[in-house]
Symmetry: C2
Subunit: 337 residues, 2 copies
């Protein structure tokens, strides 16, 4: 064995991955700080473009688009007026905040489906006692109009369970009526076969993790990292199954209303949000190719974006009284690529 | 119109996109600097793991994997010994370098297919006179052994054309025998139906752009950005088709051996390279599930990576004389997840 290099363990590789992860997190912070002003400039610019965000959502990446059903699509295209994604812990706590935590805010004009004008969902990046990490959230109330609940009762059911557990003092409690009710529902319904808005009921891809649990686990994790750097042998925590009763086991998927709630949030933050102008331009090009009404709006419009400066007059919001594109201009042919 | 906000143009949106792009580029620089030491540590660690890179390639993301044909796969799994991705302009020119330029270096053990031990491909981020931007490259010679050219002559043909154009003083020249020869070949063969290694013949998704053309175009672009920031009206360059003869038109796709050469390079740099340890771990898990021989190697191995530190002894290179995994340990069952 003398000729062999020292063996390497999965733990050694994990330590390297931890370092990369720390660098990535630090870069997220820097990127957020560096781009805040430009995002503000974009936010101001796009308020002048009618339907900007509904057109962006039309071109949403597959991770999001696959959950937008036809009734969602109609609602979004007619009533979504604003989108905002923030890494709110950086805004609130500065350097002490985790840049991976996200808040996604959607604004709507009055509509027939729900009475909310704003739906806002918060995702906290947390570490569980067994070292699982990910985004967890709390169910958000949607005030569905009578007979209009697109989620088939999933958002309300998720809130009922969350509140019952919260009151009962254990977020992993299973033997309660609200749990059984959700278990029954989730057997048939979820984000994939109901509505995009079911996502607002999402809690976790694993189970709920409290701020306190996360804090303790993170402190322990940091201690292990430091020890490992000093070259000490470090034990990685193994989830002790006998510490909790069976009914409080780790996995809460039987009552989770959305299997991909975390992926959806990340796609909003990492794809749709930074790429919004690109997606909008794509939507314009698609509209140009397929929508004859749209063409009537603006005979001079050219979607190329590379050839020459063009006013997007047809997209400028009017006095704010209406959002219809009636097409006041004469029908005209436009150059196509 | 007095009540309406000032209209917004595609140019205004493009200016915002330019700012985002500048921020992204700056972040790439910082990320590269911040992670160099960790990449070096990883490089050292993985030399101790036999087949690390061939296992990583086995789990390559779809952007790469779709171009790895079965004969490539065999060659890679048996002979790929090293991968390195560098943003070489940062190494060479410091802050004056463009972080988007890439160099991808693959190392191989002696094999039956080509005599090269290193295949290295460089991609320069360049801006054309019409403001097109992207990665361009130069064809790399692969010394195929007799009768073993997996690219169906594409890599040699690409080099012949490149050299003939270079000698002739015009990189867009079309009316030459080397052009017609490639046009004929590319009608039938390309990276999608020959070999992963055809990628080494890639030049551009559009056409070749020289360092000089890029420098001039970049200076003009920067001037426009500055003017635009001062609030001046700026004309965007339109490609003047009458400036070059028909045979020198912009698009060189009729002789390009690989349609997705740039996407492949970016997938190497942004996915495979940073995610290598994750992909390796995935490959281990896949191997565990499907390869009975592999199980014999290391009875104590546990692929979880989360439970406890485990030596990857079976993967440690021996004296360097051979790479076979003979499985000296006794067959044994291992815990599965």
């Amino acid at each position: 064995m003398a000729d062999e290099p020292a063996p390497i363990s999965y733990e050694d590789l994990a330590a390297i991955e931890d370092d990369f992860s720390e660098i990535d997190t630090e870069m997220m912070r820097k990127q957020y700080d560096a781009s805040t002003a430009t995002y503000a400039r974009r936010a101001e610019a796009v308020t002048k473009i009618e339907n900007f965000w509904s057109l962006v959502l039309e071109q949403a990446p597959p991770e999001i688009d696959q959950y937008i059903h036809s009734h969602d699509s109609k609602l979004i295209s007619e009533h979504l007026t604003g989108v905002e994604v923030t890494r709110f812990e950086l805004d609130e706590k500065g350097p002490a905040g985790d840049p991976r935590s996200l808040r996604i805010r959607l604004e709507f004009s009055p509509n027939e489906v729900f009475s909310d004008r704003v739906l806002e969902k918060t995702f906290w990046y947390r570490r569980a006692s067994d070292d699982w990490t990910g985004l967890i959230s709390e169910p958000v109330k949607i005030h569905w109009k009578k007979g209009k609940d697109l989620s088939e009762g999933l958002t309300d059911g998720a809130i009922a369970l969350f509140e019952a557990r919260n009151k009962g003092g254990s977020m992993s409690r299973k033997g309660i009526p609200e749990y059984y009710a959700m278990e029954d529902k989730v057997e048939h319904w979820n984000g994939a076969n109901t509505s995009f808005f079911t996502w607002f009921g999402f809690v976790s891809g694993r189970r709920y993790v409290s701020a306190k649990e996360s804090e303790t686990a993170t402190a322990a994790y940091q201690q292990r990292r430091v020890a490992r750097r000093r070259g000490e042998k470090v034990d990685v925590p193994v989830y002790a199954e006998n510490q909790v009763s069976d009914e409080e086991a780790e996995d809460d998927s039987a009552v989770e209303v959305h299997d991909a709630g975390e992926e959806l949030a990340v796609a909003f933050a990492e794809d749709l949000w930074p790429d919004a102008i690109k997606l909008f331009t794509q939507a314009q090009e698609m509209g140009d190719m397929s929508d004859p009404e749209f063409e009537e709006d603006d005979p001079d419009d050219d979607v190329d974006g590379n050839d020459e400066p063009v006013d997007i007059r047809s997209l400028v919001q009017g006095t704010g009284k209406g959002k219809s594109r009636d097409g006041n201009g004469p029908p005209a042919k436009r150059a196509k690529r």
